[in-house]
């Protein structure tokens, strides 16, 4: 076990969180290998494959939100000299910042706001430049709290809003 490599991977994950929350998308993309896979509930269906697809989709999804991501208590294992895998318990808070009331009751209201708990299950690879990058990132939720405030001017029961899980 190389303590230096473990620390480098912890700092890699710290930059992953910091560049997401401060929305520095080019620097964020650089933390992934070119052929990385991102599999998170924010993205419906198939996992995202490749750095450009990952960066574009996440930038699009998170730009209109205030986000806070924290990681805790990593378990990281080196597998050979240039591969590693890790588990990170995580907490995140996502707040939609466009809360305008509109005339259309279907889209009117504010939110959604999410508070989430779970684990990142990850694989890392060291490039020829000596830097560790994320090769695979999968987010498994333990719990997600969603808060929505819908205007319901006609008094009918609001549609279930469970389809918008971030």
């Amino acid at each position: 076990m190389s303590l230096e490599d473990l620390e480098a991977i912890r700092q890699l994950k710290a930059r992953y969180f910091r560049f997401v929350d401060t929305k520095q998308w080019d620097r964020w993309g650089e933390l992934f290998t070119e052929d990385a896979v991102l599999d998170v509930p924010l993205v419906r269906g198939e996992p995202l494959r490749g750095r450009p697809a990952i960066t574009d989709r996440v930038r699009q999804g998170l730009t209109p939100m205030i986000t806070v991501h924290h990681g805790h208590m990593p378990e990281i294992e080196l597998a050979g000299s240039d591969r590693a895998r890790g588990l990170w318990p995580m907490y995140d808070r996502l707040l939609t910042t466009t809360n305008e009331l509109t005339a259309d009751p279907a889209v009117s209201g504010f939110g959604p706001r999410y508070e989430g708990f779970g684990h990142y299950v990850e694989e890392y690879a060291r490039g020829e430049d000596g830097r560790w990058r994320i090769a695979r990132c999968e987010l498994r939720r333990l719990h997600l709290e969603t808060e929505r405030h819908r205007r319901d001017v006609d008094g009918s029961l609001p549609e279930t809003v469970t389809q918008e899980v971030g």
């Binding site: 230096e4 994950k13 710290a14 969180f17 910091r18 401060t22 205030i66 707040l95």
Partner: protein
């Protein structure tokens, strides 16, 4: 990369949080260099300068508040002989009276500490510069506003 120095700085920041939240102000002051700067632009426009002013101002501001501070995901880099810099993601919860003293306020904050560290002649790392930047702050206030004069006026009418 020097793992022992990085670990020492992580424990320095742990003591910063612990002494702050347990209000051990003398010990908290010793985590700063004598000429340290504490810059929290969202809270006060001018940075606090020097250990004395930092301890005096922060201890007075938090004296009657419950505080919880957590740090996460440090990125620490040794930049030279006895110098280092670091970034910490942070969360804090502050409970106490509203500024006017007529109610209770709850502040829940998220952000980053951007810091520089120096190692003293005694071999101990200290915080030389602390800059807190917020990502998000939630404020909840419960104010007492019980003025009976309007009710008395209504009774008399």
């Amino acid at each position: 990369m020097n793992i022992e120095e990085i670990e020492a700085i992580k424990q320095l920041k742990a003591r910063y949080f612990r002494y702050l939240d347990t209000k051990q102000w003398d010990r908290w002051g010793d985590v700063f260099t004598q000429d340290a700067v504490l810059d929290h632009p969202a809270n006060r426009s001018e940075p606090l300068r020097g250990r004395g002013q930092i301890v005096e101002t922060v201890s007075a501001g938090l004296a009657n508040r419950v505080t919880i501070h957590h740090g996460h995901m440090p990125e620490i880099e040794i930049t030279g002989e006895g110098t280092a810099k670091g970034i910490w993601a942070m969360y804090d919860l502050l409970l106490g009276p509203t500024p006017d003293g007529h109610g209770e306020a709850r502040y829940e904050g998220y952000g980053h500490y951007l810091e520089r560290y120096e190692k003293g002649a005694d071999g101990k790392w200290r915080i030389a510069h602390l800059h807190l930047r917020r990502l998000h702050l939630e404020i909840e206030q419960h104010k007492r506003d019980l003025d009976l004069s309007a009710f008395e006026q209504w009774e008399r009418a």
